[in-house]
């Protein structure tokens, strides 16, 4: 065939190149500025320096915020996964009154703007007297990451091969053993993919967290946002570079493990 619709023409490749430049330019610029030897925002034209990376180590507030974000991501992703597994099993395998309602309820945080969730949590947590605590951050984050864990765990349950389960039970395994030894291992990739997506969503969240965080319990995005409000200096670029490098490493693991397009389109 002389013409093949499956190949990209020259125009398409030019478009693609510009698109990729557009996507990567802000990230590349941050990484370049992070290596400046100067005291202000500038490109490292005269030579590269690690000065602003050493500066991070002098800033316990940024390091604390990083650890808070890390802990928050791990705890909230784990709790959301633990709530999602039984819920997904029930939603996938039973027809019961309220099933549609519950499904909608668990996915509803995707439709509610995070700014609205933020102000709602701010009011709620301060009224019940746990405003600004780490526990309140965890509760709020479980709500916003649960749709992600539920979707991926649900997709995993739907794709299960039920024959092995039935075989185990007919061979005398009790339902719990069959769940633990047969069902759960088969669900594991979906569960792990959901956990990772939930973790990164929690780790990056700003809009809602900015309302529920307190000076002693702040996360890295909130810390950076408040810093930007005051001043923008190369320290932000070096902190951002660290975040970019860690996120890319995380993304490669997630992609190798589960497939990034599958995770992000939530289609399992």
């Amino acid at each position: 065939m002389s013409v093949d619709s499956r190949r990209n023409g020259r125009l398409a490749l030019a478009f693609h190149t510009l698109f990729v430049i557009f996507l990567l330019a802000p990230l590349v610029v941050i990484i370049l500025v992070a290596f400046t030897p100067k005291g202000y925002l500038s490109y490292p034209t005269a030579g590269f320096s690690l000065r602003w990376f050493r500066e991070i180590l002098e800033r316990p507030d940024f390091i604390d915020a990083f650890y808070h974000s890390l802990n928050l991501g791990i705890v909230s992703a784990t709790l959301a996964t633990l709530l999602s597994i039984p819920a997904a099993l029930a939603l996938a395998r039973f027809r019961f009154a309220g099933r549609e309602f519950l499904n909608g309820l668990f996915l509803s945080p995707l439709m509610i703007p995070h700014i609205v969730l933020g102000v709602a949590f701010l009011r709620f947590f301060s009224e019940i007297g746990i405003g600004g605590t780490f526990a309140s951050l965890v509760l709020a984050h479980v709500i916003i990451v649960m749709p992600y864990t539920l979707r991926l765990v649900l997709a995993a349950v739907m794709g299960l091969d039920r024959e092995t389960e039935r075989a185990a039970v007919s061979l005398g395994a009790n339902p719990f053993t069959s769940f633990r030894r047969i069902t759960l291992p088969q669900m594991l990739p979906g569960v792990a993919g959901g956990w990772m997506l939930a973790f990164i969503t929690s780790f990056d969240e700003l809009t809602m967290t900015v309302f529920v965080a307190s000076p002693s319990n702040t996360t890295l995005p909130v810390k950076m946002y408040n810093y930007i409000e005051q001043t923008i200096d190369p320290l932000l670029a070096s902190v951002s570079t660290v975040i970019i490098v860690l996120t890319v490493a995380f993304m490669l693991v997630l992609d190798r493990f589960y497939g990034l397009d599958r995770v992000l389109s939530g289609k399992g």
Partner: protein, 305 residues
Amino acid sequence: MTETVMETMRPRSPNRARHLERWLPLWLTGPAAVFFLVLLGMPLLMTLALSFYTFDYTAGIDKTLTFANYAEVLFDGYFHEIFLRTYAISLVTTVLCVLLGAPEAYILYRMRSPWRSIFLLVTLGPLLISVVVRTLGWVLLIGGNGLLSQLLQGLGLAGSRGVSLMYTHTGVVIAMVHVLVPFMVISVWASLRKVDLSTGDAALSLGAKPFTVMRRVIFPQVLPGVLSGSLIVFALTASYFATPSIIGGRRLKVVATSVYDEYLSTMNWPLGASISIVLLLLNVIIVMSYSRWVERRFRRTLGEG
């Protein structure tokens, strides 16, 4: 899906099975349901109540019910401007995301084996990187001393003072498109996976021009992806906080940043609450009516064959 727990669990009596089938789903969904009803339901109801409370700059929040907050949000020109600006930015951002994201998804789809997965990762990867970081990148690019300004100066297109897109609609839209275009790519990508590319080959071999193939054969097949991607991008932009806040600043207030200011600067929580309730309702109305419109449209197209 229709099979029941009876098959898997083989209980001793049918009675027990019926009992189990009735109660097991409730036990399984119970923890998550209680968690959501308390931690999502209560805060939203309290905010709804708060939006009807009276606020006074000296006395603070008073639980006397009033419609004054809603009257201000709905009838004050100041808020009209903020809502109009927000939805105008959302509309332009959505159109640009379609124009950039849909062709890019198609190009990615036609790529060969190693390149396809590499560039899919490059395109979708930024979604995982903190929005604060990505927006900061645009500040460095389009700010007064940024690369864009230096580039334009080098080309002799800008004066010695440079060009800054900070605090402009253009700057906000560029950064918003950057933040949200991966959602369009993933959405179109997902519908492209269902498309049969040989239909394009067939059209070509029958003498259609490549552009015609694109418009008449490929595009109608990925339209659902474009439409759902548009909804995601539009709804997210309308309530976005980080990017408009950092790049638009106080000069270009959008709905989300005005909520932030009412809560954390002015401390007028009841007014902030009513702005957020209006935002939430508009979001729900837009999402619902758009989905209904898309559904009707597709049913009609299918009906006409």
